[in-house]
């Protein structure tokens, strides 16, 4: 069997890790390279870096970040934030990233997924979906949650996979930063609808939430941010707890 992955996520703005609630109210949480190395030492299975710095520049900050991170990490890492073209995917991978995360640009131009997967393989293309609950379904949002797209999150996940996404990084906007647990219904709806691994994100507060995301939500991996950055817990402790609660972890 595959082991459940625990993935710290670092949201980065102007070179610093930041953390907010429901995508707003950002506060500083440290240096991304230092934090990532720290999490690897604690037993993190992968790291995700999402740069939320507004940029109209062709040269993406995530590419430079990937270069720095690649110098210190010996576990896989994903970078995302502002990637709009295959050439930018190439730049990120050549800088040392193992995968890229596509979000807004993939919604605007789904062919980007196909192009990136066609050139570099599905295994390095993660499609990130920020979903907001709307009654009995979930709507895809972009631009860091500011734009509502009218797309259904489950249908969009299926299309992304059909186009070549190797993984879905699924964030519940409602859960983000609340520490009240992942949106298990959303996670289960998407995980049951696609053939690739789903990473649950948004709402982790305690180890039990991580276990629920896997056992009830059928997620393959769990993303954790705020509770780590704020020092409320450690990767090591969370994994021990997950193990004690019946999950197989590294």
């Amino acid at each position: 069997m595959n082991l459940v992955r625990l993935i710290p996520c670092l949201d980065i703005k102007d070179g610093r890790v930041v953390k907010g609630t429901n995508f707003v109210g950002l506060r500083d949480a440290g240096d991304p390279v230092e934090l990532a190395a720290h999490y690897e030492a604690q037993g993190a299975d992968e790291i995700v870096f999402l740069d939320i710095t507004a940029s109209s520049d062709q040269r993406l900050p995530v590419v430079e970040l990937a270069r720095q991170v690649a110098e210190v990490l010996f576990i896989p890492f994903t970078v995302g934030g502002g990637i709009r073209e295959v050439e930018q995917v190439r730049a990120a991978l050549l800088a040392g990233a193992d995968k890229v995360s596509l979000n807004t640009a993939a919604v605007q131009r789904p062919e980007l997924i196909t192009e990136a997967a066609g050139v570099f393989g599905a295994q390095c293309v993660v499609v990130a979906i920020d979903a907001k609950r709307q009654g009995d379904h979930w709507e895809v949002t972009t631009h860091g949650g500011r734009t509502f797209t009218g797309l259904d999150a489950v249908e969009w996940a299926q299309e992304a996979v059909a186009r070549g996404a190797g993984e879905i990084l699924l964030t519940s906007m409602d859960g983000d930063g609340t520490r009240q647990g992942y949106d298990l219904e959303l996670t289960r709806a998407v995980a049951g609808a696609v053939s690739v691994p789903v990473i649950a994100s948004g709402g982790a507060g305690i180890a039990g939430h991580l276990v629920d995301a896997v056992q009830k939500g059928k997620a393959d991996a769990v993303l954790v941010a705020g509770i780590l950055h704020d020092g409320l817990t450690t990767v090591q402790f969370l994994k021990q707890e997950m193990q004690a609660l019946g999950l197989s972890v590294r």
Binding site: M1, N2, L3, R5, E40, D45, A70, E71, F74, I75, P76, L93, L94, G96, D98, G121, A122, Q123, G166, E167, S195, V196, P197, D220, A221, R250
Partner: protein, 213 residues
Amino acid sequence: MSKRVTVVDYGIGNLLSVCRALTHEGGDVTLSGDPEVIRQADHLVVPGVGAFGQCTLELASRHLREPVLEFIQTGRPTLGICVGMQMMFDIGEEFGEHQGLGVFPGRVVAIDPRKADGGRRKIPHIGWNRLQVPNGRVWEGTMLAPVQPGESVYFVHSFSARCERPEDVLATVDYEDYEVVAAVGRDNVMGTQFHPEKSGDVGLRIVRQFLSL
């Protein structure tokens, strides 16, 4: 004196992390597609990213197939990683049949997406998985000597080797009831389906041990 390691550069993917892991563990690393630099190495690493056919084609078109095979014949330690390991086999079935280097008898086949219970096995196999020792195999004296069975390493692949000689299999992992050949070894030639350069501390131990062989 540190070992001279040549990482074979044949124009595929990003070899940065492989080089960095070797350097981290004390290797004097050169990334090169020059047959002469391959010849002069103490240790050779054949990486591989992407599809089997593409990799063998690139290796051949750069006239590196023979230098790699000659290096192996000298008895010096050679390590194939991921598709680099797969290329050591006779045949690869990814996007049609392609001839490999034929160091290990066997084929590289698609991981079966159907489980025995009718369920679906997710492809590619991505993530961490626990190394197991095949019956009758010992890791002592191999690159896996410093690893304990049950320790985990990182995989990203959709195809998997099927060895004709069971004794070539050094380690396996169980991917949802499908046996993945995780490492092979015979005399001075070895391969890992997983990525030691992405497998944290366990991976670095394996790299260090390879350099000490």
